[in-house]
């Protein structure tokens, strides 16, 4: 039997053994998984990101502008030295600030305007009325500046019902997703490993 399949099957069973109870086989696989994942990430990040996006323009093409992100990136490692760890905040501030700046127009356009527009267009049909009612009552539910009582309480209550419909549908899909993952693993065990199925 292929050594790769045997290894995969063994480690799969180690992890499934957790269903009985926590045990050293599971713990072994769990720690090995985290270690390998981190090692994998390190290699991929350096090979496909650090080298082509920083080292290539800086050292091969001689683009000196890249010294700035290189230094800012290096600053991140100063977190390990308590006395100067604050310097890493400058690098973090750049990413967080730039990310925040770029997100504002994008979110206004994609998440608010486009969504509002889509709700208005279908307001004439029964489905459109359901959508508008669900949207308005859900938004009312999330409005916490006013107490959910009296005339304001009723739509907020209806909003929770619609939210339950969404959470229920999401739960249904979550079950579906998890079962699909199990199908994948059992297809491997019954097929590639035991050759019971194609």
């Amino acid at each position: 039997m292929d050594i790769g399949i045997l290894t995969s099957a063994l480690l799969t069973l180690f992890i499934f053994s957790f269903l009985y109870k926590d045990n050293p086989f599971y713990k072994f696989a769990e720690h090995l998984l985290v270690g390998i994942s981190v090692g994998y990430f390190l290699v991929i990040a350096i090979n496909t990101t650090v080298l082509p996006t920083l080292f290539l323009p800086l050292f091969k093409e001689g683009n000196l502008l890249y010294i700035i992100p290189g230094i800012l990136g290096f600053f991140m490692f100063l977190r390990f030295f308590p006395k100067i760890s604050w310097v890493s905040r400058i690098s973090l501030a750049l990413i967080i600030g730039a990310g925040a700046g770029v997100s504002i127009p994008a979110v206004i356009e994609a998440q608010i305007m486009a969504q509002m527009k889509a709700s208005m267009l279908k307001f004439t049909s029964f489905d459109g009325i359901v959508v508008m009612t669900a949207l308005c009552t859900t938004l009312i539910y999330f409005f916490f500046s006013k107490k959910h009582t009296g005339w304001f309480g009723a739509p907020a209550k209806v909003g929770t019902w619609f939210l339950m419909v969404f959470f229920g549908a999401t739960f249904g899909y979550t079950v579906m997703s998890r079962i699909s993952l199990l199908i994948g693993r059992l297809q491997f065990l019954l097929g590639d490993f035991l050759h019971i199925i194609d």
């Binding site: 990413i95 356009e109 899909y173 079962i179 699909s180 993952l181 994948g184």
Partner: protein, 266 residues
């Protein structure tokens, strides 16, 4: 009524394993949202470029792989060019392998018909950067070849040369594609996500910010019907059905025993 959880575990394992061994062959039906993704690829002309982004981790491979295979098979069967990369590290090795294997099925040549660019961790910067200059975001492909030298990528400047983006995701990365590629650059985006994420994207489907949605293994099975190539998705549908029924029966059983015990207490 108390059932030991291990009995439930065994029940679930059996409900998935038995239909995998003894096939029932339940008929599957194609939904509108999956057909929309199919149509958005079908309407492309030969030679147009599709960007496939592997935005997922290894954990969701049983769901992502069938979707990726079905969509890539459709692209290559139509002679479309595929440029691909990953926004999550684990999607890199997986994406590279799936792309290469499917391309080989159709005798497609690396560099001319398809290219794998590698991994970029900062989603916002990568997606926005592709709107300006692909060569700046990806000076080299995954193998270290300059993207200015590869036949396929040297012709691509930015989203203007890309007809469709397909995000294969197990998280919220399609939201970034919508916020930054669709909203800012009017880039057409289709998504194929794990089932657990599917309900999240229905508002974008309704607002036409995405051209379609393939959801999980079921979505993959539907796509396989559309391209007439049964694969891993179709094979899992019997097990999926039986497991859902078993879980629903457990819920009913739990509720019946709950209400009966309540009445007995009264």
């Amino acid at each position: 009524m108390k059932i030991d959880r291990r009995i439930i575990f065994v029940l679930i394992a059996i409900s998935v394993a038995i239909p995998l061994i003894f096939k029932i062959g339940l008929p599957n039906k194609v939904t509108k949202e999956v057909k929309m993704v199919y149509d958005s690829i079908e309407e492309l002309e030969q030679g147009e470029v599709v960007l496939v982004s592997f935005d997922h981790e290894a954990s969701s491979l049983p769901e992502i792989k069938p979707m990726a295979q079905a969509i890539l098979r459709h692209c290559f069967s139509k002679n479309l060019k595929v440029v691909s990369f990953a926004l999550l590290a684990e999607g890199t090795a997986i994406g590279d392998e799936i792309l290469r294997n499917v391309a080989n099925e159709y005798d497609r040549k690396y560099g001319r018909d398809y290219v794998f660019l590698g991994f970029r961790p900062q989603y916002t910067a990568a997606i926005l950067g592709l709107g300006e200059d692909l060569h700046r975001v990806f000076p080299e492909d995954y193998k270290g070849i300059s993207t200015s030298k590869l036949n396929l990528t040297k012709e691509i400047k930015n989203y203007e040369d890309i007809s469709l983006v397909v995000s294969l995701a197990d998280g919220d990365l399609p939201t970034y594609w919508i916020n930054y590629a669709e909203a800012r650059y009017n880039q057409r985006v289709a998504i194929a996500v794990t089932a657990v994420m599917a309900t999240t994207y229905y508002p974008y489907l309704s607002s036409k910010q995405i051209t379609g949605l393939v959801g999980g293994l079921k979505g993959a099975a539907e796509y396989e019907i559309l391209i007439n190539k049964p694969g891993m998705g179709s094979k899992g549908m019997d097990a999926q059905s039986v497991a859902h029924v078993v879980i629903l029966l457990l819920v009913v059983l739990g509720n019946v025993s709950y209400f009966l015990s309540g009445k007995l207490r009264k």
